[in-house]
């Protein structure tokens, strides 16, 4: 029970840090998923999933009013679902590796739901802000601090609601991995390795777009040299 409450609390904090504050980046997948890994007694898996989501969504930044898929919540809910399913259903090591693939796809879905909820929240903020301005213009006394606190609390509640509804749904979905035939399970394990190609490409393209290809080429040559030296 305490673990569930802690999970919900962390979900609220992740949602809050993403959009409201303090924006000290504890909501970034590499941090939040590692925290989840520690909570579930598997920090390596948490870190690995965090790195994966982090690199995938490296180019997603909450700049101004840009509508972006909520990768932070997507990663958090998906990894929480995966690790919970692993504990509840007693996944073996192959099943846990294979579960990475449905978890990643689930994260993409949750990230879209998160985006829709953020848009809704911003509309709610607009109504609240307009009301306060109208009251001030009419000479009424209003508390700016309480209005702001309501906005922050709304973000926290968004995270909480997402966790309450989407983690159990994720557990059920990822739990189906137990019924997959062995050949498909092996294929999923391989897929979990191959998909690092997309993840690395996503991160590379972020630096590439900034017109600094020279740095990427230099780093790639360094990587090959390092790899060759270690292979010898």
């Amino acid at each position: 029970m305490e673990a569930a409450a802690l999970l919900l609390f962390v979900a609220g904090i992740v949602a809050m840090d993403t959009s409201s504050g303090p924006q000290c980046l504890i909501s970034e997948p590499v941090v939040s998923c590692t925290i989840l890994g520690i909570l579930f007694g598997n920090p390596e898996m948490g870190l690995k999933m965090g790195v994966l989501f982090q690199l995938l969504w490296l180019g997603y930044m909450p700049l101004g009013a840009v509508r972006l898929t909520d990768g932070n919540m997507g990663a958090f809910i998906a990894v929480a679902s995966m690790l919970s399913a692993s504990v509840l259903f007693g996944f073996g090591s192959d099943q846990l590796l294979a579960a990475e693939v449905p978890s990643m796809l689930y994260a993409v879905l949750v990230a879209h739901i998160g985006m829709l909820m953020t848009t809704g929240l911003r509309k709610l903020n607009r109504i609240r802000n307009d009301t306060v301005r109208a009251q001030l213009a009419g000479g009424e006394t209003v508390s700016i601090t309480s209005t702001q606190l309501k906005g922050i609390a709304s973000s926290f509640i968004r995270g909480l609601l997402m966790a309450v509804f989407l983690i159990p749904a994720g557990i059920l979905l990822i739990g189906f991995i137990r019924y997959i035939p062995p050949a498909a399970l092996t294929a999923l394990v391989f897929t979990s390795l191959l998909i690092w190609g997309t993840v690395a490409a996503s991160a590379m393209i972020f630096f590439w777009l900034k017109g600094r290809k020279r740095n990427l080429i230099l780093g790639s040559i360094g990587g090959f040299v390092w790899m060759l030296l270690f292979s010898l």
Binding site: L47, T69, I144, T186, L188, T198, A201, F207, G219
Partner: protein, 259 residues
């Protein structure tokens, strides 16, 4: 704070620190229409309380600071400090008007958006991540701690520095936006970030555990396909789903042929 080096007298350290802490929740009521207007007024509340004892003046202060505002959340303290300074000068009838404050907020808010977004989101964050990933190869979760430290320590310092500078210099603080040290730091971090990320990607994707197996070739193929799709400006989510599907089909085929 020493009065000799701090000629504007009304706000003390406690007020400034209060503004500083509030600035961490500047985006709490973000809306598409008026952006961070409520956040700006919220952060400036300690200054309003100190400067305007009369409720009518206080409401007017709140109303003018709940107008549209858009700026970078990490650099906002620069505007908050300068606006506090300007409000004091308006009270003292010291050559500034309320229109000047409004114009300053609009112009400098936009500028902090451009400078701050580049420095914090596009440079410091990815640089911290890459450095954290490098460390996590050997020290696991300590890499995460390094990432948080690289991002948060300079951010905490700069928030306070800009608030203090803004309050000291008033509108002249705009010169801080052209600080060459920020530019130099950005360029250096961009170079190191790119080099180390490419290094990590190549070294990891060509992991000796896989050797020159079909997995290495497959990962390279997926990497190449993803780069092409990213260049075609497809959404990350769409690319990810397509590549996962292809990777699964390839894995099924190879797995069947290996049996």
């Amino acid at each position: 704070m020493d009065a000799a080096v701090f000629p504007i007298r009304r706000l003390d350290f406690r007020d400034l620190f209060n503004i500083y802490l509030r600035s961490y929740f500047f985006q709490g009521s973000f809306s598409i229409k008026s952006r961070q207007n409520m956040g700006f007024a919220f952060c400036l509340e300690p200054a309003g309380r100190k400067l305007f004892k009369n409720p009518i003046d206080r409401k007017a202060f709140q109303l003018r600071h709940t107008e549209f505002f858009n700026g970078n959340p990490f650099m906002i303290t620069l505007v908050l400090g300068a606006v506090s300074h300007m409000e004091e000068r308006v009270l003292d009838d010291d050559g500034l008007s309320l229109e000047d404050i409004s114009r300053f907020k609009t112009a400098v808010g936009k500028a902090t958006g451009a400078v701050g977004d580049r420095f914090f989101w596009r440079t410091l964050r990815p640089f911290g991540l890459v450095m954290g990933l490098l460390l996590s190869i050997s020290y696991d979760i300590w890499g995460v701690a390094l990432f948080l430290a690289i991002f948060n320590i300079p951010t905490m310092y700069l928030r306070w520095y800009w608030l203090y500078k803004g309050y000291m210099l008033g509108p002249k603080v705009v010169l801080e936006l052209k600080n060459p040290n920020l530019d130099r730091a950005s360029q250096t971090m961009e170079i190191f970030g790119g080099v180390f990320l490419a290094f990590l990607s190549v070294a990891f994707l060509s992991n000796k555990e896989y050797g020159f197996s079909w997995i290495s070739a497959g990962t390279g193929g997926i990497f190449g396909l993803s780069i092409i799709l990213f260049k075609l400006k497809k959404s990350h989510s769409v690319i990810f789903v397509i590549c996962t599907g292809i990777a699964f089909i390839v894995s099924l085929i190879v797995n069947a042929s290996l049996r």
